[in-house]
Amino acid sequence: MTTRRQFLNQTAALAGIALAPGVMLYDLAHARPTGESASGKVRWGMLIDTNQCSADCDDCVTACNTENGLSGGKKSTDSQWIRKIELKDLRTGRQTALPMMCQHCAEPPCVDVCPTQASFKRADGIVLVDKHRCIGCRYCMMACPYKARSFVHEPLHDQKTDVPRGQGTVEACTLCVHRVDRGLQPACVEACTKAGHQAILFGDLNDPQSEIAQKVRSVASVQVRADLRLDPGIRYQGL
């Protein structure tokens, strides 16, 4: 004879099995179908909580390097798409650590200055470099207020098929566009969550129901060098 408790457990399990594919499908439905343009209704962004970011953790950096096939080298000629910055307030002495990468500005200076339109902003706010158009003049690197871009100084080997790179061209954080288009989170966000810090929240800033939109409405956050009015898509909390 099945007890009431057993019956409820079995029902819950069955419901779980029945619902799981649906939930998966719901997730996949968030992915952009192949061939469809990025939507201007979406503004991808991040909210980085510096209070949650640990100074001695660089899982986001490692995950970025692995995901995008970067060497992880720290020479001045090596590409670093994301880096950890340690800050000390000059007046109070308070110390902060945070990840810094392309801020995916709404008014990106790199796009303005690029002579060949290789630097461009997608409709959904992701700033990218077209590796087939970039002539390697590095003017965008001069123009970026966040020093977010790197120039490929050496021949490349073992590239990732999802992440095109090229010697003699400029590159930067793509917000893991290849993952985002599949409905996944950027690699750094996933790594930060996995490490238990949950310092990076990723989502659509334009969707009022999204977690990020709700959070930026309720907590104080800032854009770095907001005085430049570039309207970055990356916001920082606790600065």
């Binding site: 002579p115 060949t116 002539i135 100084h153 770095v224």
Partner: protein, 394 residues
Amino acid sequence: MSIHTQKLRTPLFYSLLATAGLVVLLGLYAVSLMEHHGHIITGMNNQIVWGMPHVFAIFMIVAASGVLNIAAIGSVFGKAVYKARAPLAGMLSIALLAGGLFVLMLDLGRNDRIIVAATNFNPTSVFAWNLPLYSGLFTLVALYMWTLLERRMNRWIKPVGLAVFTWRIMLTTGTGLIFAFLVARQAYGSAILPPMFIVMSFGWGMAVFLVVQSAMYRWNDKAHDPVVLNRMKNLLGIFVLGSLFLVAVYHLTNLYFARQTEFEHFILGEGGIYPGLFWLGYVLLGSLLPLLLVFHPRLGQIKCVVAASLLVILGSFALLYVFIIGGQAFPLSIFPGYVASSSFGDGQIANYAPSLPEFLLGFAGLAVAFLMTTIGVRVLTALLPHDTQDQHHD
């Protein structure tokens, strides 16, 4: 000029050609190494993204525009002494611009794709604006030289000269704007940069012209007219003073803004090689000493004028090195009010040591300009300025 001297000069001409050609070949070899190994073999990196090639290229592009002043004084303002020099000035302008662009283009990470700059023109990019400005200058100066050298076209000298003058001001404005439009770097992003570059171009162009004229005279056994030389050296002195004035205003405005004083202390005082090059290279050797050489009552002879011109050129390289490389070496202020540190050079003074391939490329650009001028003067003997007594009084 006798047949005898012509024969004597031929071996000199070919040896000059061979030497310059070798320098160009060495530069091309450096470029092939950079293509093969990547920019890792240069001193440039992710912090100092523009290096020695840009110092050479910008010097040549600015001087290419400045040298046209001589043509403008002749054709637009009607001074006969300068009119006689307009063809050589035009030739030098084309040669210097070609040399500068040679360096700039070959330093690109993907110089094989340069055509993309024409097929995907970005109207908001100052770099893109500069491309029609460069090709326009080539075309206008070529047209201008035609009006000068072809008698039937002489009546067009003044309007075409005026167009060249207007265009060269626009071109140097464009060069200054490359830096003036950089919003976030302390060294740049100032509206004074285009006028500063224009005034600097006057002096650099005049200095290059005086050196080239003197060499061409020497190689062709011609003597300098002392009256003409006197006028030109005085003008060089005035241009050097003008350049000093604008550079001083640029630094003074920066010193006045609290957010900029740290940068000024770096570039003028504590920044190691940069203040050294600024004060010793640009101010003392590149400006004050030339002023003494051209204005001192006991000096001012041809040797002094050539020495002063060479020093002005040296000073311009020092100033550009400080401006371009020193400007990038000072850390970007991403978090004002904080001390920053990272694996990517945040909060640190960036290191840069120019490498041999960069110098080879830079000198190759100068050699391209030299080759074009030397061949030009040999083919078109009318390029060599001829002075007559009645020019002196206009």
